[in-house]
Amino acid sequence: MTDDDMQPDGGATKEEIFGTGESVERARTPPAERLKRMYDIYVRTPFLVGWSDWRTRIGGLGILFYILMGTIGVLIVPEYQVNEGPNYLSPFEDFSIITGTDYIGRSIGKQVVHGTPAMLKMALAGVVFAVGLGVVVGLIAGYKGGVVDRALMTMADVFIVLPGLPLIIVIVSIFPVRDPFLVGAILAIPRWSGLARQLRSQVLTLREEDYVEAARAMGLGTPTIITQEIMPKLAPFILISASGAATGVIVAAVALYFLGILPFSNDNWGVMMNFARRRGNAIANPGHAGHWMFLPLLALSGMTFALTLFSQGLDRVFNPQLRARHSKTITDDETGGEP
């Protein structure tokens, strides 16, 4: 319903970004060569372009830091234990447990580190689910058009209108999820539809491009055209959406765990905060147990900050052309309708 209004400014990522779509030859090149080109298109070029902006650079390094913390960090930092120190030890009091301890003397810092994998799993599942579904639905709707398009877009519209968190409460009330991957996927349900909508309208403009038409005329199949001609142009946009989805999922997850809407099943920052609030009374008595709640909150803020910075930077890098393009389209609208 509000599909087209909902676009951020700009639209399709066009050939300005990656150079004009290389010719259809690519479909006939040997696999190794093709892999290398795919790498160039999907990984190397976006990386180099992204690296040129300080926001993307810092954001990317931040994301990398969290990924390392959740993978290697878990191996380096030993598992937290009861009575590592006195109960409710404040931070900076004892430098062997610099972050302080919770109500049974467990190190908060270790808990944050060991809570990271669950956060990453949720974010990953959310990204895969939201972006995957959004891309598939958006591309098919935009490329196929007609009845398929209308059916898919009606479905997307329904999801756009459904309020995200209440929907999640309904789902959780029916189906108490525990697995972090599943939690991530469910939290991403409200997110795929907007992306699908936006991608569709971009594909609509892209499919009219000469080189896509040429590919079609040469008899290349729809999957080939989509993966080789259309997807590369949309890659930065999808990356930005992925980062947005990851942010949304972890923010929602921590909130829902914090408030106890999601059933506890694993260690994560939201669960820590919940315990800090319920057991340690951290909100009413922050001097006593505040660190227990604020450290995971800080970790979360750092993560969302890195993700947001990353996508803001990408937006900066890729959007000047898009902005210009957008204003151009408006101009075209105005000059249209020659009698």
């Binding site: 319903m1 479905m155 409460i169 009330s173 909100i283 609208d333």
Partner: protein, 340 residues
Amino acid sequence: MRYYVQRVFQAIITFVGGLFLTYCLYRLMPGGPVQAIVADIVSRRVRQGRPVDAQEIGAQAERMTGINPEHGILEGFYEYVFNIVVYQDFGRSIGFADPVFDVLFRAMPWSLFISGYGLILGFTATVLIGTLMAWNEGTKTDSGLTVFVLTMNSIPYYVGAIFMLVVLGFEWGVLPTGGRYPQSAEPGFNPEFMIGVAKHGAMPILSTFIIGFAGGSLGMRANTVRIMGSDYLRSARLRGLSTNRILTRYLARNAILPIYTGLVIGISGVFSSGVITEQIFQYPGVGWYMFEGLQLQDYPLIMGGFVFFAGLTVIAILIADLTYGLIDPRAGDAASRESF
């Protein structure tokens, strides 16, 4: 005219579609609430040695969930929607022993109060800050505000809420930490009640304001900068129009257009994050009741809360959509909207 009819029609379709989807979830999910309740009733009856009569159990389950498991999916859905539309009957809340509609209807104004104020404040701030940045483009004010906005934007909204609650509510004790108004106050037009409402609402509104505000202002800045360099603005200046007219009719009007659609997304975001805000501040609005329903396994209440939020979102988006047609003459142009 066609545009408006189309939009209204579309809104109804998507709303009913969403309702149907959740209804199916409720009915069909193995181990879902309706099945669980039916199983519960059956086992209780068996234990008590009472006859297991499908119709009676269906009626009992309907009282508890608003959904009769004996009816077919479509028939049951029709009944459910019919009851909602005609009798405002969402079923009976198990936890609050009241019709769900009454419970939610009492809570509704409070939710609207929080979200509405927060949203309006946030939107105003978006426009003002965006314009301020554009006006001082390239200066220290601009870059300072950009960093500020970016930071606000990238930290989860409830972090601010928690900090406020800790500092203003508990440490300093300036603002109440829960409830909608002081218990001693008599609801009505008396100063104690009004001030109480304002005080209790302050923190929830402020934290809603944070959600609403940061995101759009960078976009507003970009729009304003673009329009300040546009040909029509230069032409207007040369034609000797007053600064006032240029600011309102040319600059603000055109710069807000793209932001306005951002507001649409903001509406659904703000309403649905109301669940978290209301819970953090223990503010009994619809979101709070929905949360309580979850704790009490009060399915009619959860479902009712969801319908309320979905309806509110649809209406809000519809209003924004229809008024967009009023403020942007190009909106009715189906062709241009389709491609972009």
